[in-house]
């Protein structure tokens, strides 16, 4: 109640702002906002298992309105799910305010009341964020204070509950989240190091949660769970290093998929390392991580995968945007634990050379792999604390979760033609994730060609062909797309995805989809009609399975 009062007062202050912000009166008041809406009309299509819901129409809409004057800002987000789009996570219903905040900053102090987003370090210990596409929103509701007491020293503190549901308005979970984070930029702190070639930033975080309604018949849950760690970022010339280690105290969760890992009281740990070298035209980037038991939510009962997350499970693989590579067999970090590595190499064959030709070549190689850690399971009769197993840093087993090797080549052929080629090889553990669950490992190869032909200044055509070869799951897929754009306002596209290799002949289906769009400055309108394939959409260690659908989709985005 107090917060609400404070918030209302803050808005009132802004309303009569001339008095309070007299010293800043050369700053004009600014109102800005954005709006987006997706409306989908469903057809029944038994062939692809697309249901026609009773309400026939789904519509998800959002509008943000922000006010800013001098050092003060406030805003609201109105949301509406009438009815929610098919495949959106449950828990989004009706219309109302899903987010509201007030913020002011002065002399290094920055205060936010109401809802806010934030991230500590890489986000393993705390990442409060939203992805409207995926239906993720774990916004905090409470108080956040940032303070910059001395040059190069940045402090943050926050406390609040997390967004859990939307039911004609924001519904928070019961758990409390409290966090502190400090960061020191050594080069800003000491004047003598301002121009040093070596740049160093160090940081540390502490986050704790409190929740007390989680006891089960068999287990007593800890009411308070703490998590802490540190990080360092360094760079020296063309080299760059980042490391973060997070430790999490006992924090047992139910595991519906694998009962062996249900209610594990073992402490969790996460280590993330990144080393990079980068110069004009060439770079290497190497990542490694060890994660064990790092699922981190503000509740210990069973919720949807996207609900009430405090921490973010870092994903060491490329987020592919080509359709067949992106959503059929995407990699999901295993919340129980995994050891993963990734290497990226980028090289540009210089332009105006014998091999490079007039425009040069862009070449990229990416290798990502993840394994289960080697676990030594404890004897249940003596394991009174339910520690269940032990692991060692970077000690991996031979059980592979995922591997992705991909190479891409980009070439501008002449002023009018651009070509991109990509080849990917996947190994995908089907048991660990949510796809078919019929195989142990799925092996897939994908080849992609993407041409852009710039006919004239305003007219261009893009062709995209893809093919996936696999003997498992649904077999081979083909993909083709033609897109014509008339810059800067119009585009039309037609695409077909064809599951020609499906072992079940009646499932060898074409997914044909037509799209058209009109863009004017910040306004964008698109309309699509046809079949959309089921897919798995993943961000930040959480994935959502979106069912196939057939129908008409209309969307608008706009900002002001």
């Amino acid at each position: 109640m107090n917060l609400k009062l404070l918030f209302n007062t803050a808005l009132l202050v802004s309303f009569t702002g001339q008095v309070f912000f007299a010293q800043n009166n050369n700053n004009e008041a600014v109102i800005s906002g954005n709006f987006s809406s997706t409306v989908q009309y469903y057809n029944e299509d038994s062939l692809i298992n697309a249901a026609e819901p009773d309400h026939k129409l789904g519509a998800n809409s959002f509008a943000n309105i922000n006010f800013n004057k001098g050092n003060f800002s406030a805003g609201v987000r109105l949301e509406s799910y009438l009815n929610p789009l098919e495949g959106y996570p449950i828990g989004f219903n009706g219309s109302g305010i899903g987010y509201r905040y007030a913020n002011w900053n002065n002399d290094g102090l920055d205060v936010t009341v109401g809802n806010f987003y934030d991230q500590f370090g890489s986000g393993m210990i705390l990442r409060i964020w939203e992805s409207r596409q995926l239906g993720i929103d774990n916004a905090m509701d409470g108080l956040k204070v940032k303070y910059n007491p001395y040059k190069g020293v940045y402090l943050k503190g926050l406390i609040g509950k997390q967004r859990y549901r939307f039911d004609d308005g924001l519904k928070n979970g019961d758990g409390l989240v409290r966090g502190l984070d400090g960061e020191v930029n050594i080069n800003e702190l000491f004047d003598s190091l301002n121009n040093s070639k070596l740049k160093v930033t160090i940081g540390g975080s502490f986050v704790s949660k409190f929740n007390d309604d989680n006891n089960t018949a068999d287990y007593i849950m800890p009411k308070n769970v703490g998590s802490y760690g540190g990080r360092i970022a360094m760079r020296y010339g063309k080299f760059r290093f980042f490391g973060e280690y997070i430790y999490k105290e006992n924090d047992p969760y139910p595991d519906l998929v694998d009962p062996e890992f249900s209610y594990v009281y073992k402490n969790g740990e996460g280590l993330l390392l990144n080393l990079g070298y980068s110069q004009k035209g060439f770079s290497v980037d190497i990542n490694a991580k060890h994660m064990d038991n790092m699922l981190w939510r503000s509740t210990n009962v069973t919720v949807q995968p996207t609900d009430l997350l405090i921490g973010y499970l870092p994903t060491l693989s490329t987020q592919h945007t080509y359709a067949l590579a992106g959503t059929l067999y995407p990699y999901v970090p295993n919340p129980r634990g995994e050891i993963a590595f990734q290497t990226d190499i980028l090289y540009k064959i210089p332009k105006k050379t014998k091999i490079g030709g007039k425009y040069g070549w862009d070449i990229g190689l990416n290798i990502a792999t993840a394994y289960a850690p080697e676990r030594e399971f404890l004897d249940p009769s003596t394991d009174t604390g339910r520690q269940v197993y032990s692991t060692q840093l970077f000690n991996l087993s031979d059980s592979m979760f995922f591997r992705d090797i991909n190479i891409s080549i980009g070439k501008k052929i002449n002023k009018k033609l651009k070509l991109k080629l990509k080849y990917l090889n996947f190994v995908f553990d089907d048991r660990a994730i949510l796809v078919a669950k019929n195989h142990e490992l799925i092996y897939a190869d994908i080849a992609i060609a993407d041409f852009t032909w710039k006919i004239s200044t305003h007219h261009s055509v893009r062709f995209e062909v893809q093919n996936m070869w696999t003997k498992q799951d649904q077999g081979n897929w083909g993909f083709g797309q033609i897109e014509y754009s008339y810059s800067p306002h119009w585009f039309v596209a037609i695409l077909d995805q064809y599951n020609y290799g499906n072992p079940i002949e009646t499932q060898q289906i074409h997914y044909l989809l037509g799209t058209a769009g009109y863009i004017k400055g910040p306004h964008r309108f698109t309309v699509a009609y046809g079949r959309q394939r089921a897919g798995v959409f993943c961000v930040g260690g959480v994935c959502r399975q979106v069912p196939a659908s057939n129908g008409l989709t209309f969307s608008i985005t706009s900002s002001f």
Binding site: N8, L11, L12, F15, N27, E28, A29, V30, I31, S32, G33, S36, N64, F67, N68, K69, N71, S73, A74, V76, I97, R100, W104, N105, D110, Y117, Q119, G123, W129, N185, A233, G276, S278, Q279, K280, G281, F282, P314, L316, T318, T321, D344, L346, Y347, T452, K454, H458, H459, S460, S485, Y486, S487, P488, F491, G517, G521, R524, V539, G540, S559
Partner: protein, 161 residues
Amino acid sequence: MKKIITLTLALFLVGATFGQLPSNVTIKDMDGNSIDISKLNNGGKPMIISFWATWCKPCKEELNAIAEEYDDWVDETGVKLVAVSIDDVRSTGRVEPYVNQQAWDYQVLLDPNGDLKRAMNVNNVPHTFLVDGSGKIVWDHNNYAAGDEKELHEELLKITK
């Protein structure tokens, strides 16, 4: 709640003007320096602020298309391009390698948790803003198709004449 809506709507009547850079967002550049967005400027000359991500194909096409003409634009108008990457922790490590591979001469900022994206009401990327010498947003565009950079160039010439 009703009160909040009423108040927010009432704010529209105060005679507010539109389109400035937000005053309360600080994000980092690739060297780890904190950059206060309200202090972002180009000495009275225009700026282009372009939101992009390493996983966004049209974004990269747009920035690469501009890169080919960037030197000419700078000579003509003194413009500075600020490329704001919204890559999150999964791909922030790819930003600098990509920028170097393409040899962009832009100022690159990192917005891994979407603070600036939210403050500037960006729905999706690419979204490109043109800011005039006094810090006012005069034009924006939420898409990229080959040739769109021509429109941006024309708008840029309009405000520097």
